[in-house]
């Protein structure tokens, strides 16, 4: 399936990213009702000495689905996101290594991986991104 035929996804205008990491904060706040960037499904990559910041975020490429051997990941056809079955995930890290976007993260509290679920169709990172780096639209 060509990228353009996919369900709506988040686009990234990297050059606008200010490194505020509000996306990480609201991501965890939405999912867990607490603050802890290590639990986020998005991460800001920082090169402070160059003044460069870039969001690492799932683009629903599905690579992870093919490497998981615990049957913990599945494709949600309706929303177009990867779902993690926390009972099956054993935090082995294969999907983390395989992700071309480097956008899968191991959660230090729950002990399973977190993958962007587009907040069930209303991505909070987009809503809270002040420099408007992120936009949610059909690719």
């Amino acid at each position: 399936m060509a990228l353009s035929e996919r369900t709506p996804q988040i686009s990234i205008d990297h050059k606008k990213c200010s490194g505020c990491r509000m996306c990480e904060q609201i991501c965890v706040f939405f999912h867990e009702r607490e603050f802890n960037p290590r639990r986020a499904r998005i991460k800001i990559l920082a090169r402070e000495k160059e003044g460069i910041y870039a969001p690492l975020l799932c683009n629903q490429c599905k690579t992870c689905l093919s490497v998981c051997n615990q049957d913990a990941l599945s494709w949600d056809e309706k929303l177009g996101v990867v779902r993690v079955d926390s009972k099956k995930c054993n935090n082995c890290g294969l999907c983390i290594d395989a992700c071309p976007q480097a956008a899968i993260f191991s959660d230090p509290i729950s002990g399973v991986v977190n993958i962007c679920d587009l907040c069930n169709g209303n991505p909070q990172c987009v809503k809270w991104c002040q420099p408007q780096v992120l936009a949610y639209k059909a690719a």
């Binding site: 200010s18 505020c20 009702r33 607490e34 802890n36 160059e50 003044g51 910041y53 002040q130």
Partner: protein, 635 residues
């Protein structure tokens, strides 16, 4: 055991002499009465140090404080306060930092880190969640702050580690050395870097994976959302977004308040200073608009110079304060040089706002013949001489020859120089500042009463200054200014103790009445689940003010020390609409009467009265003051 929301509930204590590390539970008394950040730091400092504490001795404390809002959402939540008895002023020392260090301390599971004692050899503290290790730092001694941060991250194998470290200035105990985090965020005031140096503490490195819990998540999100709706209403927002704080250079020049050549001039034709205007340097050098942790503003500008003698220099554009201190006050009007020198100060770890006025003082002494080349190791201290400025900074940092005198701070250096140099050393309680601002009496009152010496972040009322408004006229001494200053002190104290950025509270929204104590009380209640009414937060701010003031009184500070710098009183404004004006001492003293009365302080001594302290639950502080004899002086 208290179930904590907002707060993490743990104070980490590190004794660098013995290597003992303890995790103390945060008490409800501390949290509910002193909130966090600056508030709890000041209470710990008051309780654990005093007049016999040598600021550079092992008994001093170096306290890192986060607040209930640190590590949360959307209000500049990376902030933290560093507190110690100041080696510069000998009284309360503290400084607030931005970046992302404060939030990481929370994520590691701590509200405060209290360092005491002195390590035998250079060390750094590695705080990795519950694991706290004092590590050898001999290989880092002599490195600048940028190198140190990089080496620690490499050594510990984690690029996301946040550090607070000192450079060569802190190692050499320059009295106004500053720790640095994020390469350029400086809790700079009052020499906290020298205290770290005296403890052989090169750095604190932190990484955490704990969660900050929120008592009422929906309510908190709603408050922040509403806050954001109000930000565009604020008149400075467009300037702040597009240019950043450097716009003050232009505005202060327009209203004849830009300090030039040790404040001998307050204005230049715009074409001479236009290098510093955002509309010029942003299009030319901007790499990217940058924010601190979890802040809606992109007020910082990462720039890179690609022409002239400083080509290749890159970093965050300096703010107004460092530029005024290190450029205009020294007669330099060159933005690329400003970036160069401020990068250098951040690498050495030294406070621009004390160094600049100290250098400006000796340049003026040289201009007036008080100093000659015989005194300055052969340096010709001529205004605007960039090469000499760079060389003198190096000599200060390494305490080399004439530089060692300047390393003591503006007032102390002037005393050492003698021959009338003190006349050109502008300070309050031993702390300098680049501002002139004589035209605003409420601002000057805030300066004079601030608890850490001359300071614009602790009760200074700035008027609306816009290009179209023209110079505001505050030449009257209306008693209502006492209330304005007290109100502003409470806003600043609340922001410093919750650890919310002042750009979202004091500066940005105050004129519209939107960023004040009521709103911060809502934030505090939603985060912590403790019912903080507006009055309760006001009372906490009052308590924090009074314990800080009592600390000063114990160190001999009295009403006579609450005075504007000498040039405000003695040197008429040289130019512009307020030409010829000075502060009227008598009227200013009458205004102070109104202030002390409002604060429940004794008018004769400026000390908090016993009943004021007792009402705030600080009877033991009143008993301490009793022992100093200050209450007898008041009679």
């Amino acid at each position: 055991m208290t179930k904590w929301y907002g707060w993490m509930g743990i104070v980490l204590r590190v004794d660098l002499s013995t290597g003992k590390i303890t995790k103390e539970p945060l008490s409800e008394d501390l949290a509910y009465n002193f909130i966090g950040g600056r508030g709890i730091n000041s209470k710990i400092l008051y309780d654990e140090t005093g007049p016999t504490t040598d600021p550079l001795g092992p008994d001093n404390r170096l306290i890192i404080g986060t607040g209930p809002a640190s590590g949360t959402l959307g209000l500049g939540n990376g902030r933290f306060t560093v507190t110690a008895k100041s080696p510069l002023t000998g009284i309360l020392g503290d400084a607030s930092g931005g970046g992302a260090f404060g939030s990481e301390v929370k994520f590691a599971g701590y509200d405060h880190i209290v360092n005491q004692g002195r390590a035998k050899k250079p060390v750094y503290l590695w705080v990795n969640d519950g694991e706290v290790i004092i590590k050898d730092a001999q290989h880092l001694w002599g490195k600048n702050t940028w190198e140190t941060a990089e080496l620690i991250r490499e050594e510990l194998g984690d690029g996301d580690i946040k550090t607070l470290c000192i450079g060569q200035a802190g190692e050499n105990l320059v009295k106004y050395a500053s720790p640095i985090t994020n390469d350029e965020r400086a809790p700079a005031e009052t020499g906290m870097g020298a205290v770290m140096g005296s403890k052989n503490l090169k750095a604190i490195a932190v990484r955490g994976s704990q969660s900050v819990k929120v008592a009422k998540p929906e309510r908190y999100e709603e408050i922040v959302r509403k806050w954001y709706e109000d930000i565009p209403k604020q008149h400075l927002t467009p300037l702040h977004k597009s240019v950043g704080v450097t716009y003050l250079i232009k505005l202060f020049n327009q209203v004849y308040n830009l300090g030039i050549r040790n404040s001998q001039e307050l204005h230049r034709p715009e074409e001479e200073i236009s290098h510093f205007f955002g509309e010029n340097f942003v299009p030319k050098y901007l790499v990217r608009h940058i924010s601190c942790f979890s802040c809606p503003h992109t007020s910082q500008k990462f720039v890179q110079i690609h022409d002239g003698p400083y080509a290749g220099e890159k970093g965050m554009r300096p703010e107004y304060g460092p530029l005024a201190s290190m450029c205009t006050q020294l007669g330099v009007f060159d933005f690329p040089f400003g970036l160069k020198i401020v990068n250098m100060l951040n690498q050495y770890g030294i406070d621009a706002q004390e160094l600049g006025p100290t250098m400006a003082m000796v340049f003026e002494c040289y201009q007036r013949g008080i100093l000659t080349r015989k005194d300055t190791d052969g340096l010709k201290l001529e205004w605007g001489d960039k090469k000499t400025i760079l060389e003198l900074v190096r000599k200060v940092v390494y305490r080399e020859g004439f530089g060692a005198i300047l390393a003591e701070g503006c007032l102390n250096a002037a005393k050492k120089i003698g021959k009338g140099a003190e006349k050109y050393a502008y300070h309050i309680k031993g702390k300098s500042h680049p501002d002139r601002l004589t035209a605003y009496i409420p601002a000057v009152l805030g300066f004079a009463l601030a608890s850490r010496g001359w300071d614009h972040l602790r009760g200074t009322v700035f008027p609306h200054v816009t290009p179209s408004s023209g110079p505001p006229k505050f030449w009257d001494y209306d008693a209502k200014y006492a209330k304005m200053v007290t109100d502003r002190e409470h806003i600043d104290t609340a922001a410093d103790s919750l650890e919310i950025c002042k750009w979202l509270t004091e500066f940005e929204l105050m004129e519209e009445g939107l960023g004040g104590v009521p709103r911060m009380a809502e934030v505090l209640s939603a985060l912590t689940g403790v019912d903080f009414s507006e009055d309760r937060l006001h009372k906490a701010c009052d308590r924090i003010y009074n314990i800080e003031r009592a600390y000063l009184v114990k160190h001999g500070i009295r009403r006579k020390d609450d005075v504007p710098p000498r040039h405000f009183l003695e040197m008429p404004i040289p130019d512009g609409p307020s030409k010829g004006q000075t502060i009227d001492r008598e009227k200013f003293e009458a205004l102070k009467d109104a202030f002390y009365e409002m604060r429940g302080s004794d008018k004769k001594t400026g000390a908090p009265k016993r009943e004021t302290l007792e009402q705030l639950g600080l009877k033991y502080v009143a008993d301490d003051l009793e022992k100093t004899g200050v209450y007898k002086e008041g009679k």
